[in-house]
């Protein structure tokens, strides 16, 4: 049990610090510091362009995608080195936001399932930020119940071996900026639903792909509808066997949950700073014992997540697989951030309703309030995560299911209910 850097870790930290000191885009720091969850905070530069520039610089110096092997453009760093990098990169990490899905989920899936030729072609430009990827999984009728998806892939009847895609995806984050997409489709509706799926990747500028931005509840447009109208995909852009799509998707989803080290924020450090400064009844908010009690409960969630992350890193460093405790991260962070935002607004009194640049911390808490509901849904809703903890961690029995051994086409749907 030791929280301090070992001499090697300290030396690594020094190296990282020196490189960042010489190379980080310092002129953006004030803006990035104002970043709130769900937005980079950048206004002086285009966030995508600024992100690509930073990613490229990192890649050239070997600091891009530290968890990937070097041959695919990664940094091949140890888990602890990744944590140290993340601590030191700090606000600049926000710049790499457009690549999170590609680096954390699509890339690892390609790495596990594509042939060598494709890996060499696809992965290095993803690592260096030239290419952006999106995840085309959810559909209007299948979110939590992903295996209920309906986008069809049918073999072309011209003997080319190509696949023809028709259907619709929804909630696809970053599709409007993406070069490539990871796409899960149904190839066989006559078998039970998990068995008839097949995974592909495709260029987002393929003929017949249409991206329509969706205006979100918080006013931003991060996610999109993506329509497929007779889109042709060559068979060698298939990942895994035909009918094996569910298994391939598990690689993606597992990587989603394993992308530890970044440590999810609850917004506590910002709230704490606010409570040190904010004036409530003529005194700083922390002078009030009711406020302190609330803050303490937020504080132990924040630190509990931080140290849970460190326990996972410790396990990884010893060559062990991190335990299931990682599944708590998003569940705790999402709900905490939402409650915390409401509390921060409460402390602002009636002006908590005002959301402009004069609001405390440039309206950070109002932005958190409006973005946090999404955290509780995306990437597995709170309820799905509780099911996972209950069933896979605690070993409780699964739900009683009516869709298990039934051919996909015979499963009742929302539309078929009378």
């Amino acid at each position: 049990m030791d929280f301090n850097d070992t001499p090697q870790e300290a030396a690594f930290r020094k190296e990282v610090r020196a490189w960042l000191d010489a190379n980080a885009p310092k002129h953006l720091e004030p803006e990035l510091k104002r970043a709130s969850f769900g937005s980079s905070g950048l206004t002086s530069e285009d966030p995508i362009e600024a992100g690509k520039k930073w990613q490229k610089k990192k890649a050239e110096a070997g600091w891009a995608v530290l968890h990937w092997p070097k041959e695919y453009g990664g940094g091949a760093r140890t888990p602890i080195e990744r944590v140290i990098w993340g601590q030191e990169e700090g606000v600049y990490g926000v710049l790499s936001g457009p690549f999170t899905i590609g680096h954390g989920m699509c890339g690892p899936t390609v790495m596990a399932w594509a042939n060598e030729e494709w890996k060499e072609k696809l992965l290095p430009p993803l690592a260096s930020g030239e290419d952006i990827w999106c995840q085309l999984f959810s559909e209007p009728a299948s979110g939590s119940d992903l295996a209920g998806l309906r986008t069809r892939a049918v073999k072309a009847d011209d003997g080319s071996g190509d696949w023809i895609i028709n259907g619709q995806k929804i909630w696809t984050s970053g599709a409007q900026n993406s070069d490539w997409g990871l796409l899960i489709t149904r190839t066989d509706p006559d078998v039970p639903k998990h068995k008839g799926l097949t995974m592909f990747f495709l260029r987002m500028d393929s003929p017949g792909v249409k991206v329509v931005p969706i205006k979100q509840a918080n006013g931003a447009s991060g996610f999109n509808e993506v329509y497929f109208d007779n889109v042709r995909i060559p068979d060698d852009q298939r990942l895994g066997a035909v009918g094996e799509g569910w298994k391939v998707s598990l690689t993606t989803l597992m990587n989603e949950r394993l992308s530890i080290g970044s440590g999810m924020s609850t917004g506590f450090p910002e709230l704490f700073r606010f409570c040190m400064e904010a004036d409530v009844d003529g005194e700083p908010a922390v002078a009030d014992s009711g406020v302190r009690s609330k803050l303490a409960q937020f504080a132990v969630k924040q630190s509990g997540l931080k140290y849970t992350g460190m326990r996972a890193i410790s396990a990884l460093s010893k060559g062990e697989t991190p335990g299931p405790e990682n599944s708590i991260g998003k569940l705790v962070a999402g709900a905490t951030m939402q409650e915390l935002a409401m509390f921060a607004l409460d402390l602002q009194g009636e002006s908590g309703v005002v959301w402009d640049e004069d609001s405390p911390q440039n309206g950070r808490f109002q932005a958190m309030l409006m973005r946090s509901p999404a955290t509780r849904i995306e990437g597995g809703s709170d309820e799905i995560l509780r099911n996972i903890i209950g069933e896979r961690v605690l070993g409780l029995p699964g739900d009683i299911r009516v869709d298990k051994d039934v051919a996909f086409k015979d499963i009742p749907t929302s539309g078929s209910r009378k």
Binding site: V300, G395, L396
Partner: protein, 373 residues
Amino acid sequence: MNLDFSEEQNQLRDQVRRFLEERCPPKAVRQVLEGETDYDAGLYKGLAELGVLGAAIPEEYGGVGLGHLELCVLTEELGRVLAPVPVASSVYLVAEALMQAGSEDQKSEWLPQLAAGDAIGCWAINEGSGRMREEKVSVRFENGKLTGKKSPVADGAIADIAIVAAREGDGISLVMVDLSAGGVTREALDSVDPTRAQTRLVFDGTAATRLGGAGDGWHIASQVLDRAAILIAFEQLGGADRALEMARAYALERMAFGRQIGSFQAIKHMLADMYVSATLARSNCFYGAWALSSSAAELPVAAATARVSATTAFQHCAKNNIQTHGGMGFTWEYDCHLYYRRSNALALALGSLSTWESLLIERMSAGNVEAAA
């Protein structure tokens, strides 16, 4: 960086777990609950022989000299089985206070006896209802004599010595009292958790000697409390884990509406939330264990963090363990209430939850701001 116990420490855990499974079944806890004995003296002696009591006491004072990380591991195991023994009073508080502030004579007289389980210590700070503050201390220490009342005092009925916070001149001092020397009345108090009995100690010109400097008492006490808070947090963690295991076992075994109750999402999600709070508490406790064992500058923040998190988790798990058991959970016969009692008693020991919540934020505001990140 390494946030985990070592191989050896985990082996020690296994060894003590086996010992406690054999020597501290629920029946042993119930004997104390039912008032048949004040504490499990045989178990206490066994723990002394195993080296548990002296784990963090240096060898020169009759201890085993392992360290506080080992003590944390052992403590968690005691918490799992609700061991009805005065370890918290005697070891986490009195032995710690002696190690922090005792004179050479005091240490060499008492530490070996505490480590061997030949003497039991108790910690007498509280004076009646309300959060304990320095200004509330009214027991007086003058000319070597102690006068006034302390309550509640955990394990006061069975202790041989007490460390008492008393007013001396303008300040507060800690003093040691040999309870067997007479001049002390002990009155038993009924409590929410009879497996750790509470007592009122009445001093009437009782002979006492100072522990540490005159007027330093509150300062020493708060240092000792921080250290003990981390150890108690490990007991709470052990209790929380055990309560979750009990709930899980019942959720798998109990059938209703033709299915296991654990297949109902209301139950499944309740258990998932128990798992979440126990996991957060475990991670925070590890942080506390590190701070305790290395006497890090973060110790005060780490202690309050571990304490708040573990209190919350144990209360959460113990109450929902009863809920999962339905009517059976509310019977005297099932052990659920033992965990419920203990979780609520430990939530108040060494200062209530709200007290520690306040302390945590005060300490973070007083400079250790980076602890917030």
